[in-house]
Point group: C2
Chain length 134, copies 2
């Protein structure tokens, strides 16, 4: 079995790849257990933004907490691809001017259900990523 060639990516490369993706996964703790939930997201001024519902487990577990965020892309056979992981503090966006901006982002709430009218941001404090090829 061929071993992959791995290349670490710069912060700029990672943010570029995040800008090209639409679906990522948020890593949080729910009921003292790790959980990974998919979200439709967009990058807004170097910050991850996604929609969430008030009172959901996702909202409760993210806001004010350090969370992980991952996005990736790969070919059908899984032989080449990339992955980026962000770790930073998540906040509910409450600033009126910022809310007006993020409401224009192409964000669905497909994985979350109805009433996902809250917006959550994740700071891109720690960003790591790599490309793999063979």
């Amino acid at each position: 079995m061929l071993e992959p060639i791995l290349r670490e990516l710069s912060r700029g490369d990672c943010l570029g790849l995040l800008g090209s993706a639409a679906v990522g996964r948020v890593g949080i703790s729910i009921d003292a257990m790790p959980a990974v939930l998919p979200v439709n997201f967009a990058l807004h001024e170097q910050t991850i933004v996604f929609r969430s519902g008030p009172g959901t487990k996702l909202s409760a577990a993210t806001c004010g907490a350090v969370v992980a965020f991952e996005a990736d892309g790969y070919d059908a056979e899984g032989h080449t691809g990339w992955s980026v992981m962000v770790r930073g503090v998540a906040h509910e966006i409450t600033d009126a001017a910022l809310l007006e901006q993020v409401r224009t982002l192409p964000l669905d709430s497909w994985a979350l259900g109805d009433h996902a009218d809250h917006f959550v941001s994740i700071e891109t404090t720690l960003v790591t990523g790599r490309r793999f090829d063979r």
Copy 2:
């Protein structure tokens, strides 16, 4: 914006979808922070199996711990799709007979680097999933 139609999936449906996927993400804690790492995986007798390297952060954080595992699939626009989350205890596979079986699984170590000659299993203790459509 149209809201999605969500349908909860049975355990059987979830395992069927996992069997059709090749890439998932493991949610763990590294250095007291959540982390989400992609892995190439296979389903072996209702257990998630992936390759890992000895001494890696992934190995250290998974073995003996309760971890989350997520896989998903969606159309290019992100309008329809599915996601499944598994939570259960991860173990390094050390049983010789079982190792012989899992070595035949179509598992690459692409996201992990060289020397990923260890195999980790995740019990499918808690399985949840849903389909979304609009």
